[in-house]
Symmetry: C2
Subunit: 210 residues, 2 copies
């Protein structure tokens, strides 16, 4: 189970934020207009402040071509290009476990198109899985306000099925059957570590409590 801090041990910053959040309790997250990424970043900040986990979003990789160094002012990048990332967007550590995941949202209501993932992200998840990381996709059906932690093993299987048999999406029913659904909350916005706890528990059972 996720260890929720009690009020007394919660760091000041988290406590202050929680106060702010309380004011928003009547508004749903979609009302607040938060993207999936914003919800995850807020959750990661909560987990970090509370000493529960250390998970960060990786910066966007940029190829820098030209930088100006104005006098008495900080450096300005004047020409740069977006590069394709070689990994997923998020990774970190939780109770000794390596976490690695990619977050994707869709406005679809009945299926998730696999083309939203890139080949290199699938490959990276496979590599991390081989090293015993806890790897998954965090999929948001934004119109439905439903969120799923889909283990990488299932995602990889669906990806291979696409490449081999042309099935280009995962249906909502398939995702429901092979994922842990998480309820969008208020603080943290997306308590995805509850799903991670279940992945860890499943793995321990498979490995005879190793």
């Amino acid at each position: 189970m996720v260890k929720y801090p009690t009020g007394s041990v919660m760091p000041l910053r988290a406590a202050q934020r929680q106060g702010e959040k309380a004011l928003l309790k009547k508004a749903s997250f979609s009302d607040r207009g938060m993207t999936l990424e914003q919800q995850i970043n807020e959750s990661n900040q909560y987990y970090l402040d509370a000493g529960i986990a250390v998970v960060h979003k990786k910066p966007t990789p940029i190829q820098i071509v030209k930088v100006d160094y104005p006098k008495r002012s900080r450096a300005v990048i004047r020409e740069a290009y977006f590069r394709q990332a070689s990994t997923t967007d998020y990774n970190g550590v939780y109770q000794g476990y390596y976490l690695d995941f990619e977050a994707k949202e869709t406005r679809n209501k009945t299926s998730f198109p696999l083309k939203n993932f890139h080949e290199h992200q699938i490959l990276h998840l496979e590599q991390c899985l081989d090293q015993e990381g806890i790897c998954f996709a965090l999929i948001g059906f934004m119109t439905l306000e439903r969120y799923f932690v889909t283990p990488a093993s299932f995602l990889i299987q669906a990806w291979q099925n696409w490449k081999a048999a042309g099935k280009s999406s995962m249906t909502l029913a398939e995702i429901e059957a092979n994922s842990f659904e998480i309820k969008s909350g208020f603080w943290p916005a997306l308590p995805y570590l509850e799903a991670v706890d279940r992945i860890i528990a499943d793995r321990k059972q498979e490995h005879g409590n190793k």
Copy 2:
């Protein structure tokens, strides 16, 4: 121990590179003019290709202000600034362990100035250590061609000693006494996982083989 792949199971790409490296066997790394970062990146590529570990350098965080979208051409970033990273440069997963480290080089010969680290890097290492990550600094004395894996616990202690008592550097002798020295090799350039194996072994002993 690090599991070195045999020739037969080594991926083609790694095998090809190893062939290329063989040609360079007579040149030392300093002759090749590799920075510490280049040596680590080459080592990470080796570990990745050989299926030994998945460790990547994080991209430099950039604050993007202005982007042009030319017709029939890719987006060009026209104004952006360097931001301070909130984490260390490297992290990844190795046999189920979360690895997190910062690499720093110096031309000094007798000590390493702590001002080369940033407060937020020390804080991040502390946070990851609390989550049972394997955390360290990879320190290169480039003039001496000596490389050390210094566990974060010692680095944090030295940092606190600086803040409390004004001792602004770690002497080479202190680093020798509290680190695992690694020999710059040819392939991988810096076999730092050998030191990680020793940190893991020490930890298992402390925790009664847990």
